[in-house]
Symmetry: C2
């Protein structure tokens, strides 16, 4: 288990009010209108819950979840600690996910407590007026518009305008000779929300858009040149549903897209931005929403410790540890004496090869009050404690298969959970114990 620095810093009143102003600007509404609970213990920590494999498996609730959540609310059903749900799901609106969670957990969950993998796109204003092609399933056009995109094209719209492109399914080929009627604008960027259906169709049309510079009336380019900006949400290779073994996630779709592009062009597919866990950007959002909740409840203690509970080493644990490394480095920059200590603790460089949105988020979000983010792994999802222990301990690192995204480096320190517990109830018990916190 990796040591986590017990640093703690105060949150200035200025930062708090800036956070509140920006919440409105980004479309997040601080939805906690609870009464101030001055007489009770006030939390200085917040919780980030993954959903699939932690609270549910497919459509089935995990029994420990309801029990865990009953511990976190008071008699009026109000949360006694700040809680957000950080999911890499991206095929629905956050209000839909909040409603599902309320039903499953028996506790009222607000949309502002939910961060989907696409939530950071709200900040990518420079794309909001460009013509973007969106890929995913569910209400993709509605999701895109809800995030601020004003000029959106779906894969189905491309299929209708260019009926000769999608030829894999014999039964969906045009019955009569037809020509393309191009009444669509030129695509200027591609946004991948989550795993679509009919992968052959999405893969073909996305490749066509990339190889034609967004104009499907023209032939594939054969010369090397940068492709259109590509933004992808959710890199989970697999996730845990009801079945015994993990199921394909959006990361598996990306494996296909990356390798087809590489095979056809000989070049690497490049992402302008990757988002969703384990990207830092997603954790900045989570920290920000937690701060927002604390502010709304007028809790006076700054939220200094975050706990991220998840089932996936490459997503939840890697992401929490990466963000923790960011927080430590941030403090170290302010306190140069701590640098040597942190360098020893964190090992190799923490930064993924794809940088999250440059410093764009820094100008949009207020500075974090959190100084640490601790990772807790549960065994109710994709993580299989038996499978992860190789028979021969010497083979441990060598034999580990990296299920993270192509653009993230395997770093043993980042996939090491702070704690491993049976389920989410044990996780909450552990946190309350560590924080000496009681909801009673």
């Amino acid at each position: 288990m990796r040591g986590l620095l017990p640093l703690s810093r105060g949150l200035s009143a200025l930062a708090t009010s800036r956070a509140a102003r920006r919440a409105g600007a980004l479309g997040f509404r601080c939805g906690f209108h609870g009464t101030q609970s001055l007489n009770k213990a006030q939390p200085s920590f917040g919780l980030l819950f993954d959903i699939d494999g932690v609270l549910v498996r497919g459509r089935l609730p995990i029994p420990a979840a309801k029990k865990a959540f009953s511990k976190m609310v008071d008699s009026k059903g109000q949360f006694v600690v700040p809680v957000v749900f950080v999911t890499n799901a991206g095929n629905c609106l956050r209000q839909t996910k909040a409603a599902q969670l309320s039903h499953i957990l028996g506790v009222q969950i607000e949309p502002d407590q939910v961060i989907m993998s696409h939530s950071p796109l709200r900040m990518f204003k420079k794309y909001h007026n460009k013509c973007v092609l969106v890929s995913g399933q569910g209400p993709v056009l509605e999701i895109a518009r809800n995030l601020g995109f004003n000029n959106v094209i779906s894969i189905d719209m491309l299929r209708e305008s260019f009926p000769l492109l999608d030829m894999v399914d014999h039964n969906r080929r045009p019955k009569l000779p037809s020509s393309s009627i191009c009444n669509l604008p030129k695509v200027e960027a591609v946004v991948l929300f989550g795993e679509p259906i009919r992968w052959e169709t999405n893969l073909q049309l996305i490749i066509d858009v990339l190889l034609t510079g967004g104009n499907l009336s023209s032939v594939h380019r054969t010369q090397k040149m940068p492709h259109l900006p590509l933004l992808a949400c959710n890199m989970d290779l697999m996730w845990m549903a009801e079945a015994h073994s993990p199921r394909f996630g959006h990361g598996t779709f990306l494996v296909c897209l990356e390798n087809i592009y590489k095979k056809i062009t000989g070049e690497d597919l490049k992402y302008e931005f990757l988002m969703g866990k384990p990207c830092e950007l997603t954790y900045h959002f989570a920290e920000y929403l937690i701060r927002c909740q604390a502010m709304d409840r007028a809790w006076k203690s700054p939220i200094t410790s975050l706990y991220a509970i998840g089932d996936n080493l490459m997503t939840d644990i890697y992401g929490a540890n990466l963000y923790n490394r960011y927080l430590e480095e941030r403090i170290a920059r302010k306190n140069p004496k701590a640098v040597a200590k942190i360098a020893t603790a964190t090992g190799s460089a923490a930064v993924p090869e794809v940088e999250p949105a440059g410093n764009m988020w820094e100008s949009e979000l207020a500075s974090p009050s959190a100084t640490s983010c601790k990772s807790i792994l549960v065994c109710t999802g994709v993580y299989n404690p038996k499978a992860e222990v190789p028979p021969d301990a010497d083979q441990c690192i060598k034999e580990t298969v990296f299920h993270g995204h192509r653009d993230f480096r395997f770093d043993p320190a980042l996939v090491e959970p702070g704690h491993i517990v049976k389920d989410v109830f044990e996780a909450v018990e552990l946190i309350f114990e560590q924080e000496k916190f009681s909801s009673q």
Copy 2:
């Protein structure tokens, strides 16, 4: 242009009668009941036609095709030269393909003139009584049974028995909690006929079958071990339909499968057998059927020259040249003096990394009478003469992207066509001229 050795050998009467006996055993019927045409010039060559990009583009016939075929039949509509169609299509029965061709070309085409990518499976008797999972579209179960498989499972049958496995499409997930009812036998081998529809479903279930050793009731294996035998037909990355740019073929599906398997397990996916062009096995079949036609027509000259007309460098040209190299090496073994000459002409080793069925086909098929197989490239399909000539000739090899299958090496000599012509009519004219042959 590469030099081809003008070698010629006679076909023994013994080999001919052995071929005839084996034709029956393999399910091929010599369907040419034409009258002996002793008074006319008899061909000593045969033609292998690719279909997509040579005779048709999608549903549209290529105009030159009808004209070319009218040149190859007499006034009774009988072929004056042996002709076979060698297609990597694998999603229909060969009788269906023969009927389509008859309609398009205005000439009667027999099923025995058609070689689909899956046709060699007829010889893989050791799999015929095993329980095989088949992937593809169209009448896959019928195709499999027609090839001799007696115990076949489709992807749809797996989905029905294991409803919790195919989870990508939210709308196809089971609505109510359900458990698996396993009434299917254990899968013992996987056969990939051609590109399926709903790639996410086929990819997920094939990966599940490979990682569970064919028993979907069990969890994924986490230890390294060889996976079930995997047989794949048709490796075409892309093919040319009506659209301006090439469309995904089965090879693109295989790129996805190979890379998902590699990402999840860290190991390479291994094919027990690969078939369809450019594999030698497919050309042995073609040569054999051509010999069969000549025999049936009682043409006395042995068929010594083959001409393969296609639009795809990595499939048609690579395959024809690879088979030509085999024919040359075969002769060289019989005539050691020729070895040095051939080694100079052919350059590096010709054998793909995946060997076709060991020597199984040698025991099933009679020895070829052909001594050469010349490749002719047409410009009506996937080959784009403009795109293939890089602006800087020095970059030629370095800049070429290899669109062949992962298990085939790029070999510049093998993708060099014997001739490049505009279309199939020009190809037939060229061949007749070279052979000093006239259909009149």
